[in-house]
């Protein structure tokens, strides 16, 4: 069943069109990779799906579970099950990771009409999840991402993914700023969370990440459109031939 349907999406930033009619369908449980050169519009797509301000959708639509995603505020999208793992997760001094996680989880549950977690129940859950992802407890006491290494920030994103249990995860260049060990740890976390009900969209510049997270479908983006889609071998082909052949497409 189609989880995410992006149809002929046109997006502008400050009068300049970045996406020129992008179409993409992601079904439940699938892993999609979106590859493409810098400036092809990969991150713009992820931002528009999550609802970041500053982007003007001039045409097309995005349906999530059949509903109009663009009509929803970012927090409503999160509560519906959209999760964007940020390329550069922000640091929030003065807000402990634990407080942030509890506030966010309960806000999502409240929006869905579920009961909010009590503090002991929440603590139990966050301990279970962080243990399964090998995240040390002291990380949770610190300010959100404050003083975290690049790898820790990405693991914090994976922890949130595990806690919030979204049905669509968009990983925006999660390999940027990570060494190979940190990348493997983060990717292991993502793989552990993949399920028949949970789809993943992996946005990456390099094929490297796809050694760890194996996609069902690979899309090549260029100049604001998906110019080619194929099986996972397409990524390997791109690695050897480069993006140049698509630049003029």
């Amino acid at each position: 069943m189609a989880l995410l349907e992006v149809k002929d999406l046109k997006v502008r930033v400050e009068e300049r069109e970045i996406l020129h009619g992008l179409t993409l369908t992601v079904n439940e449980g699938e892993i999609h990779a979106i590859m493409g050169p810098n400036g092809s519009g990969k991150s713009t797509l992820s931002h528009v799906i999550a609802g970041k301000p500053g982007y003007e959708v001039t045409d097309g639509e995005i349906l999530f579970k059949g509903e109009d995603l663009l009509a929803m505020a970012p927090n409503e999208r999160a509560a519906k099950g959209v999760f964007l793992a940020f390329q550069y997760p922000v640091e929030i001094p003065g807000v402990s990771t634990m407080n942030f996680l509890r506030t966010a989880l309960n806000a999502q549950r409240k929006a869905r009409g579920d009961s909010e977690y009590s503090t002991p129940d929440f603590l139990k859950k966050v301990r279970e999840v962080s243990k399964s992802l090998n995240i040390p407890q002291d990380m949770l006491k610190r300010g959100v991402n404050v003083g975290f290494s690049g790898g820790e920030k990405k693991r914090n994103e994976v922890l949130q993914m595990a806690l919030f249990e979204p049905s669509l995860c968009i990983l925006d260049e999660m390999d940027s700023g990570l060494d190979i060990d940190a990348l493997r740890i983060a990717a292991d976390g993502v793989n552990a969370l993949h399920s028949p009900k949970r789809a993943m969209v992996v946005i990456t510049h390099y094929q490297r990440l796809l050694n760890y997270i194996v996609p069902d479908v690979v899309h090549v983006m260029s100049k604001g459109r998906v110019v080619k889609s194929g099986a996972k071998d397409l990524a390997l082909e791109l690695e050897s031939s480069g993006y140049a052949q698509y630049e003029d497409a």
């Binding site: 940020f86 807000v95 966010a104 300010g143």
Partner: protein, 434 residues
């Protein structure tokens, strides 16, 4: 002598204020003479206005207009309402001293429990013998008016070496609408003593009342004092409060003020480091909304060498509110090795919010380390989006970031329970925004 009589906005002569209250003001004939002199000072100066440098940003003539008549002494119904308010605002475990509409109320206070640990009198009692408490080093029209009109207050004497087992909470409850209260208190902390003092200003249904409060604080050598003020007035109140603080040697004073109400408020502090080797920490938070005007004015005077002073202030300004911070650090010629720093940060939540930050250093010594910083800005959009992308609605995302913003000042309160109490007041302010 021909003195021009100051008139209020509606033409009523201000001298009516004193004449109509005189019969109710406590004090011996000598004290009444001191009061009359103070009132003449006030009459001569009139309410402070923008052409007086210290009041440039808080023009009381424009903001307040006139001083309301003295509140009547509370009746039985008022005391019953006050009792409920005291219950709601009392800090667990603290010994309470309650003033209702400017009158000390023993029945609502823990005088007996306090007696074993600290000396206590009311201002009313003290003034029967002595006018000393009506005199202060710094003087302006508001302080002079307070000296003239003060009806009551608490006079605390914490003996040398006393280690208070519980905090003392002075609770000012406003009951009367459209009336003024004038209170003056003294807190004397002896050598080597350890104490936590909280002052709370709350309303029990009172509207449009005016508070003019003065507190004289004297801290001896080798003492350790936490002094916390919580100005949680009703939204249409006026609260002008003046603190006169003198600190001895090798003493620690941790002062914190939070404003979460009042149409017009000003906390002016005159703090003198009079003994070497002391550490002063002065912190505060102003949470302002609607058209509220909140002013923090501080003069920290390093009169002797080798003291440290730190000021951390945060102002959160919503709607068309106006925050004022004036901080002056004076380093006297002898006060070598002074280490004085102040930092004020204002968070503007609306395009019409206004912050005036005026830090000043007056340094007359040559071997010192002093500095100040002032910033004003909006909430960071990238942080807001991150929180919203994780499911927090806009206002809740803002609230979390505002809490973090004021956290740095509130964290200076060492006691966990007190800090939680203060955070609770800040959270209620944030809920009122939602």
């Amino acid at each position: 002598m021909n003195v021009a009589v100051a008139k209020t906005g509606n033409g009523r002569a201000v001298s009516d204020l004193f004449a109509s209250a005189e019969g109710r003001l406590p004090g011996s004939p000598a004290v009444i003479a001191v009061r009359r002199e103070a009132f003449e000072t006030y009459e001569r100066l009139g309410l402070p206005h923008r052409r007086i440098e210290e009041w440039k940003y808080t023009d009381l003539r424009a903001l307040v207009g006139e001083v309301l008549p003295l509140a009547a002494a509370p009746d039985a119904a008022a005391l019953k309402r006050a009792a409920d308010a005291v219950k709601a605002h009392a800090i667990a475990g603290a010994r309470k001293l309650v003033l209702v509409d400017g009158v000390f109320v023993a029945d609502l206070s823990d005088v007996k429990a306090l007696a074993s640990e600290a000396g206590f009198k009311t201002l009313r009692e003290t003034l029967e013998k002595d006018s000393g408490l009506l005199k202060t080093a710094a003087i302006d029209a508001v302080i002079a008016l307070n000296a003239a009109m003060a009806t009551d207050g608490v006079v605390l004497d914490i003996a040398d070496g006393a280690q208070l087992s519980a905090p003392i909470q002075i609770i000012h409850v406003a009951i009367a609408a459209s009336a003024s209260t004038f209170t003056r208190s003294q807190i004397a902390v002896g050598k080597g003593a350890r104490a936590t003092i909280i002052e709370s200003f709350v309303a029990a249904g009172a509207k449009a009342y005016q508070v003019n409060d003065a507190v004289l604080v004297k801290v001896g050598d080798n003492a350790d004092v936490a002094h916390i003020r919580l100005m949680d007035d009703s939204p249409d109140a006026v609260n002008i409060t003046s603190q006169f603080v003198t600190i001895g040697a090798n003493t620690k004073l941790n002062f914190f003020n939070m404003t979460t109400g009042a149409a017009v408020s000003r906390m002016q502090g005159f703090i003198t480091l009079a003994g070497e080797g002391s550490e002063l920490s002065v912190n505060g938070v102003n949470l302002l909304q609607k058209t509220e005007h909140g002013d923090t004015t501080l003069v920290v005077d390093h009169a002797v060498p080798n003291c440290v002073s730190r000021e951390v202030f945060r102002a959160v300004i919503d709607d068309r509110a106006h925050s004022v911070f004036q901080g002056r650090i004076i380093v006297r010629p002898d006060a070598q090795k002074t280490d004085g720093k102040m930092m004020i940060r204002a968070l503007l939540l609306s395009d019409e919010a206004e912050a005036d930050n005026k830090p000043e250093l007056e340094i007359f010594a040559d071997d010192v380390s002093c500095g100040h910083g002032a910033t004003a800005g909006a909430l960071d959009d990238s942080l807001l989006f991150y929180l919203k992308a994780r499911g927090l609605p806009e206002k809740q995302a803002q609230a979390l970031l505002i809490q973090a913003f004021v956290g740095e000042a509130i964290e200076q309160i060492a006691d966990d329970d007190l800090r939680e109490h203060v955070i609770g007041i800040a959270e209620r302010w944030l809920e009122r925004r939602q």
